[in-house]
């Protein structure tokens, strides 16, 4: 009677010690999203929207429903300077590592509001062709060949493009192209963006921004 109770107590203490570090327990991701962390990190929703869907007018990306490992890497990269951005670097630095990881989990689990397709460009438009088939004569694969049908996103390395503001997609493609963003695996994005014209970037960003969320199961 006595010994099992001790053992159980011991087990609980050990579990708490290993599985849940006290700092992680203390992070209230929803509170940080709404009010900041009080140590320099502003409320995420001020720029990324109350529902995490982003703000097209300010190039601010959608976060809701993105892969947790992807978000975590981006926040860690902002904090370490591997990904540069004048707004996000100070924010990520002001978050502790536990807070960054908690925010990544929080936004990955936030459901993105359904969005109907808006004025979808024609399947043979320049943006649609580039998005779905690419231009292999320039070494450019179709975006959806890695980012998934309709830009749904695939795992931790190929984030969704559907539901991202066109302005954000354009800004990132230009950043890959200019080398100001360079945290891509195998340099895939730096490499292919080099072959894109400004017109290509604009038309392909418009195609993804017009996709419905969630993407249609039959999306190309």
């Amino acid at each position: 009677m006595f010994r099992p109770a001790i053992r159980r107590l011991f087990g609980i203490v050990a579990l708490a010690g290993i599985g849940m570090p006290p700092a992680a327990l203390a992070v209230d991701a929803a509170a940080i999203a709404h009010a900041g962390n009080g140590r320099g990190a502003a409320p995420c929703m001020a720029c990324h929207g109350a529902d995490g869907a982003g703000q097209a007018a300010a190039d601010n990306p959608r976060l809701a429903g993105l892969d947790a490992a992807y978000l975590r890497k981006q926040l860690d990269d902002f904090a370490s300077g591997t990904r540069s951005n004048p707004v996000m670097q100070p924010m990520a630095t002001a978050l502790s590592e536990d807070e960054r990881h908690a925010m990544a989990t929080y936004y990955s689990q936030l459901p993105l509001a359904m969005k109907p397709a808006t004025a979808l460009p024609a399947p043979d438009s320049a943006g649609a062709v580039l998005a779905t088939r690419g231009d292999w004569s320039r070494g450019v694969p179709g975006c959806v060949q890695c980012h998934g049908p309709g830009g749904s996103g695939v795992g931790a390395n190929f984030p969704p493009l559907a539901g991202q503001p066109a302005s954000y997609i354009e800004a990132q493609l230009k950043a890959w192209q200019e080398g100001t963003r360079h945290n891509d695996p195998l340099q895939l994005m730096q490499h292919l963006s080099a072959a894109l014209s400004a017109q290509d970037i604009e038309s392909v960003a418009a195609w993804f921004a017009a996709q419905p969320v969630p993407v249609a199961e039959t999306a190309p």
Binding site: W136, G139, P149, H191, A195
Partner: protein, 310 residues
């Protein structure tokens, strides 16, 4: 394993690894990275008509149907596909890409005698082989709508190409492509982890979204079977060298391409449909080449053994 490597070194010293050497001139070697490609004029390969040039009307409709089957085979030729792969997984850019066994390079060189089945094959019969082995499915009848559409698409893509002539960029660039050292499983595993797992997964089983492959499985029950051309090391190495990592072709060293081809082809996959109950006999009849690891032991496992894949 030792047997295979020894046999490999031996055979490569004698002939082009028992594969009929491709008579083509050196392929557009070391195609530089796309930036340079964009800048380089005078392509040395055949240029198929632009997709926007597919005509309107009933003929164009069948060409488009063929293209759709080619790029999303499980959806458009469901009855004949056993594994969820699409033709375009190994024939990039919807069958247009040079050095990725483009359709325009294949159409004009059939009918052709093939050692694989010991007879003259029409282009349609060659396509049937793709379904039976690479798609691990069953051959569509030659007069089926699917086969007519695929043949029509290939015929259209070869518009203006000579008949009976192997074009530069046809097939995979195997001619003269040899490994500096015999391919090695352990080195291949390292190449795989560093360059391939990002898309194909640590387990090599690809990535699926809503039940569709985004990145195809390289082995396992949903990949090509032991009868497919890609299970041969020379085919896989040449394809990988020219086309992988996806959009970054010609960036791996020759050795890396051979090593990772061996790593891929040393994994278990669906049985050869010609299997007659004995791995040894099936190897003797259909895989008697150092380019095939079927029926050999790698990492303590006899490849092709009926209980090999779970």
């Amino acid at each position: 394993m030792k047997y295979v490597l020894a046999a490999f070194a031996f055979a490569c010293g004698l002939t082009a690894c028992t594969q009929k050497p491709a008579p083509a001139p050196a392929p557009a070697t070391a195609a530089p990275v796309p930036k340079a490609v964009a800048a380089a004029p005078a392509p040395t390969t055949f240029s198929p008509p632009a997709e926007s040039a597919i005509p309107a009307g009933p003929l164009g409709d069948v060409i488009r149907q063929g293209r759709d089957i080619f790029t999303d085979t499980p959806t458009h030729a469901k009855a004949y596909v056993g594994n969820g792969l699409s033709c375009s997984n190994c024939h990039l850019d919807a069958g247009r890409q040079a050095n990725s066994a483009p359709l325009w390079g294949a159409y004009g060189v059939y009918p052709q005698y093939r050692k694989k089945n010991g007879k003259v094959n029409t282009f349609g019969e060659r396509l049937q082989g793709c379904f039976r082995f690479s798609m691990n499915g069953k051959a569509p009848p030659l007069d089926s709508a699917e086969m007519v559409a695929l043949e029509t698409y290939a015929w259209w893509m070869a518009t203006g190409a000579p008949v009976g002539k192997k074009l530069p960029g046809a097939g995979y660039p195997k001619a003269g492509f040899k490994p500096p050292q015999p391919p090695d499983y352990a080195r291949g595993e390292t190449v795989f982890r560093n360059n391939c797992a990002l898309c194909h997964g640590d387990d090599g089983l690809g990535r699926q979204v809503a039940g569709r492959n985004v990145f195809p499985p390289l082995w396992g029950p949903q990949s090509f079977n032991w009868g497919a051309g890609m299970h041969q090391l020379d085919n896989a190495a040449a394809f990988i060298k020219a086309n992988m990592p996806f959009s970054r072709g010609n960036t791996l060293s020759d050795q890396d391409a051979w090593d990772v081809a061996m790593y891929m082809d040393a994994h278990e996959r669906p049985q050869d449909p010609r299997f007659d109950g004995s791995v040894g006999e099936t190897r003797r009849k259909y895989h008697d080449t150092p380019m095939s690891l079927y029926g050999t032991e790698v990492q303590g496992h006899l490849l092709g053994s009926p209980t090999g894949m779970h």
